[in-house]
Symmetry: C2
Subunit: 198 residues, 2 copies
DNA sequence: ATCTTATGATACTCTATAAATCATAAAGTT
DNA sequence: AACTTTATGATTTATAGAGTATCATAAGAT
């Protein structure tokens, strides 16, 4: 108990209700104030559940956060191979669509403290996807690892900028911006697509 | 009292000694463990000063952090105009040299929590410098504000990557990488230098 | 209808923050 | 060198929040 990684589909309505309420409370509150200032008591008050109940599901606020963001990993894991693969134009746009559908959750991911390593996991996933689709140009002045890190973090930066400015452009436009500012320059300078064997 | 913004050059040796010890202790400890896990007691023990003494100089660890990073702003403020100006090649390299001379301090700046707004201040400084030197291309598909944010945060990301990988390349090489991956693509896609009037 | 268990309320321990006090020592001043 | 000022160290106190334990109840599962 008190472990969100026990994520087998729980049947008990009470459990699902409590977790849903606490999740929603955290998403709501992080839109209003910094994460570090949020106490367990605030969360349980907002979610209308008992204080001790929190600890029956999560070991800490960070644990709750982890559980929430884990859901995003699943979505991203499906998109990233195509993002780095044959049609990056479409895939980048798809991610921005995902963000627009769950802005609170992505805000959580992007604003989470570095020490939780939530972003690092995304970077790791993106790295694997990129390396599967691209290889270093033999003549490149830019090392492969720097380039990959730059590409993924710039993508995340674009999402963060878009969210913090209330998503002023369409997902398609943001996808195009990513291609113009990051991906195409990267292809020109450092990486080339691997030869696909299909 | 208890305010680091009282940064007029203090003459009292005891004051300067205490602040130096506490500063060094924080820099040292953040290299070993996440900032949030560091307590006042740990800091004062490491710095070999009394516990209450901390509060005679700083209101909180965040306040101490702010004081440390303020010094970096001064250095950066001198470099940024030239970074965005006539010779970005040299200036980018200069910043990497600065980082190599004070890795602990820059680590502090880059790893500090978002809620402190320390990085935001750097982004703001960089934005002003960039806008002073560049203007939007009339035909650009990429909006000006996104571009500027991307440029500056990518620069900071490069520094962060370099630090976290123990600075494997020379500052000159990192400056070149910044030009290849970020600045030149940006100039090609979105911005052009303002006409200088000298 | 019965069994099972998640919940709410409460009390308690522990840790860390933050402020206050006072004798001492170390700095600055003449 | 003698004097004055004040920063420091040690200690105490109050407060807030994390995290654990207990028990009667209510709500869901079967």
């Amino acid at each position: 108990m008190a472990n969100s990684s026990t994520s087998l589909p729980h049947t008990d309505l009470r459990i699902r209700r409590t977790r849903r309420l606490l999740t929603q409370a955290l998403v709501d509150m992080t839109a209003e104030r910094p994460l570090e200032t949020i106490t367990i008591r605030m969360l349980t008050d907002r979610a209308q559940v008992g204080y001790a109940t929190f600890y029956r599901h999560y070991a800490s606020i960070e644990d709750l956060l982890r559980g929430i963001v884990d859901d995003l990993y699943i979505n991203l894991a499906e998109l990233l191979p195509s993002l780095a693969g044959a049609q990056p134009e479409r895939a980048a746009t798809l991610v921005f669509h995902q963000v627009r559908e769950h802005p609170g959750h992505y805000r959580l991911l992007l604003h989470a403290d570095r020490s939780l390593g939530l972003l690092d996991k995304v970077v790791e996933m993106g790295t694997q996807a990129l390396l599967a689709a691209y290889e270093a140009r033999p003549d490149s002045r830019v090392p492969l690892d720097v380039t990959v890190d730059h590409c993924i973090r710039s993508f995340l930066n674009l999402i963060a900028w878009w969210l913090s400015h209330d998503m002023p452009y369409a997902p398609e436009r943001m996808g195009q911006i990513f291609l113009d500012l990051v991906l195409h320059p990267m292809e020109a300078m450092a990486l080339r697509p691997r030869i696909s064997l299909d």
